[in-house]
Symmetry: C3
Subunit: 345 residues, 3 copies
Amino acid sequence: MQIDMIKKDVLCTQELSVDEINALLKLAKAMKAERYSPKYNQLLKDKTFLMFFFNPSLRTRISFEAAATELGGHAQFLEPKTMRLKKTSKGVEVQAGETIEDAAKVLDRYACGMGIRILETSVESYGDGNALLREYAKWMKVPIVNMADDKYHPCQGLSDMMGMQEHRGDLKGKTVLMTWAHGALARSYCSVHENLLISSRLGMNVKLAYPKGYDLPEEEIAKVKANCKANGTKFEIVNDPESGYTEDVEFVYSRNWFGPDFYEIGKEAEIARASKMTEWICNQERMDRTNNALFVHPMPVDRGKEVTDEVASGPNSIITDIAENRLHTQKAIMAMTMAGLKVDI
Amino acid sequence: MQIDMIKKDVLCTQELSVDEINALLKLAKAMKAERYSPKYNQLLKDKTFLMFFFNPSLRTRISFEAAATELGGHAQFLEPKTMRLKKTSKGVEVQAGETIEDAAKVLDRYACGMGIRILETSVESYGDGNALLREYAKWMKVPIVNMADDKYHPCQGLSDMMGMQEHRGDLKGKTVLMTWAHGALARSYCSVHENLLISSRLGMNVKLAYPKGYDLPEEEIAKVKANCKANGTKFEIVNDPESGYTEDVEFVYSRNWFGPDFYEIGKEAEIARASKMTEWICNQERMDRTNNALFVHPMPVDRGKEVTDEVASGPNSIITDIAENRLHTQKAIMAMTMAGLKVDI
Amino acid sequence: MQIDMIKKDVLCTQELSVDEINALLKLAKAMKAERYSPKYNQLLKDKTFLMFFFNPSLRTRISFEAAATELGGHAQFLEPKTMRLKKTSKGVEVQAGETIEDAAKVLDRYACGMGIRILETSVESYGDGNALLREYAKWMKVPIVNMADDKYHPCQGLSDMMGMQEHRGDLKGKTVLMTWAHGALARSYCSVHENLLISSRLGMNVKLAYPKGYDLPEEEIAKVKANCKANGTKFEIVNDPESGYTEDVEFVYSRNWFGPDFYEIGKEAEIARASKMTEWICNQERMDRTNNALFVHPMPVDRGKEVTDEVASGPNSIITDIAENRLHTQKAIMAMTMAGLKVDI
């Protein structure tokens, strides 16, 4: 079957079909195998990809800009502060005087696609970031790519799956443990949501471990459960730091995330609370109880809190491979949605 | 006749010949018709175009950077704050210790051309921004392009004319109404000056409407009058918000600008005064009294103040087309002045 | 002999062999002679060069970004403030939560090379900047290029030599006067060190003039002395502003630098002290006592303090040529270390 994603927005993997996910992963692997091949290096020739960063980023900016370069195009790095925008009370930057409609219609004429990054620290309440992306998508014909918002991070989810497949083959029926970890960074849900959604989508069993009170948003968990149900796989939640590490687990994803009251209590209170739960860490002793599990993380890793050095730098850590895959999955997304490359699956 | 603009600075359309203006417009239209054609995509191959932004910008930055990309070159986005410069009392950034002579002579060796943007908010007094461009132009052999200063905005003027021609053909003898509008943005003269200068230059009748006290600089109005006189066209000023909208008017340009005392009274006082004159707005009722006039604006539009939503989003609004044309006119300028492309007119 | 520098870091010219220095200079001159030749414009095709600027820069940023463009690649301009980093007490930006190991291993997958600029104003104590470069170099396989740190500036040293050779041929046995100058900029050692090291390396006699108390770091002077000894050339220090200008001098490099107590007393105290010594300036009267010496400076020049306008803008000033050479030497470094271009010397 030939998959065509021309002009398609990529806002969350849950909104793609499994065929589309598989097509993107297949293309990303082919692009990794032949990185600078003439097959791919003219796909965005002379084209402009716009990157709107409401929040700073290391891997995302570099990997998207490199992706455009490797496809023969050019990515423009844009920060709202360098444009004529105004700040709201919590730092969201919005068009001053100019509506998103007006701005978006013009950007649509200049670019072959646009990426937007807007995290929880730049929005008033949960979901505002994602809503901003959808507002741009509404007015623009060229594809919008989510470079991480307050809800989703599709490029990270695809890169996780690609790395997990590279190391363990087909993921169907395998088990991933997604476990909360303590830390001083009050981290967003986006990467966690995306991994849960896409791994359950691709037929994995999902174990979720977190302290009482750190529930993820109901609506996302409902989707994960539905994905598991559709695939006949298991979904389980435990509320202690130990019992998730069982002998069926092949992947451990240990990551801090903030509690559901984050938008009310603020960053400081969240960090104070989370920092106390030092028993929530991924360590070698726990990993030893699994099925030789690989360590997965979207980076940056908060070493000594989310995971011990022994695990993070150990032979079963695939974090660098996954980070590299950001480049390849993003190239695949751009090639399919902006250049119209079709993929047979 | 073959027009050659190699190495020519583009600081104001008034300093170009009408033949040069026509050549740029002809080339811009050809480039729009064949946007990614091999005819044009090697003109700046491997060349560097420098962009100095003393003021932030959305359209200007994106369209210039995309223009360089589409010609095969690369634009560097430079903000004085990222260079070793110092601030003066009103925020103008100037070379610290280093003279413009020294900096310019080196930039001249690295680049194929340079754009500069410096608006009224970054200068001490009217004309300082334009003078800075001329100082760089003095020391550099490669062309300087005005990306909007406190006096002129040639790329906007060219884009206005291109859009107006695309929709209404030859502009000779047609009438444009340039009307002041209220608003909270205390806007610069540059786009307004440029439209008045270039439209009068291309043989249009010009109507200017603004409240008493909002006169534009004498020297620019003198040029517009002289342009009209040379072409045998009409130039008229009215001081009320209604009477400019007459049945001969084919284009309405409704835009806020600050009063002549702006540099003394400051932004807040200007905004307080202008915001009260709510009768100065372009609305459908007024548009209905014209010759089915098109709505023209350089964007960003201050909706609800400069113009109603009904007009700005209506079928006669050509603002998005004009904004798109920024890309094409800038490519034409770069191709002719930096790559030496000649155009037959 | 064929010189191969593939994957080699360029942190200081003292750590290159003389053959490698000569190969880079030979290639830089060839690249200058045929600037946009197809010989060179595909060497970094579709490749990404990362530039980390902990300190702002004019020439360095523009020349490195242009260098990547002219080799067919793309340089990403990255400032730590736009990434997820934290500040230390004196403003050094370091990875927050994320170790350099983690960041570097990922960057290594995305890029063909990385440049880092970190000057004395961004570090706690002398050498910290250079140590940061070595830490990145430790974890990355792709080459690290020093874009100026608190100790060295190899690209500047190579460009100095290239300009001096262009104007005076073989430098062996010729004499350079490196003289301190007063000024209000409290300048770093990096360019001064590099010129002393590379000129002594290439067989020049070195005269060093500075006021008592402005000694350069012992360890660097020891290297310069050893270089001179190995070449059988003269090394001399004088502590007055006049006696260095003798008839054997063919190059005068007049430059402010801060005293050895800079990191304790701070910038203001340093500037107050240095600004009083107005007799330390390069002027025409002094230049007239030399062997028609050329004026050398890494720019930006502090005119009226480091040198008079008469000398800086005079016929013997080669500062613009040297600044231009930054582009060519950097292209040569990137071509040899990142694209594996080999050079016969």
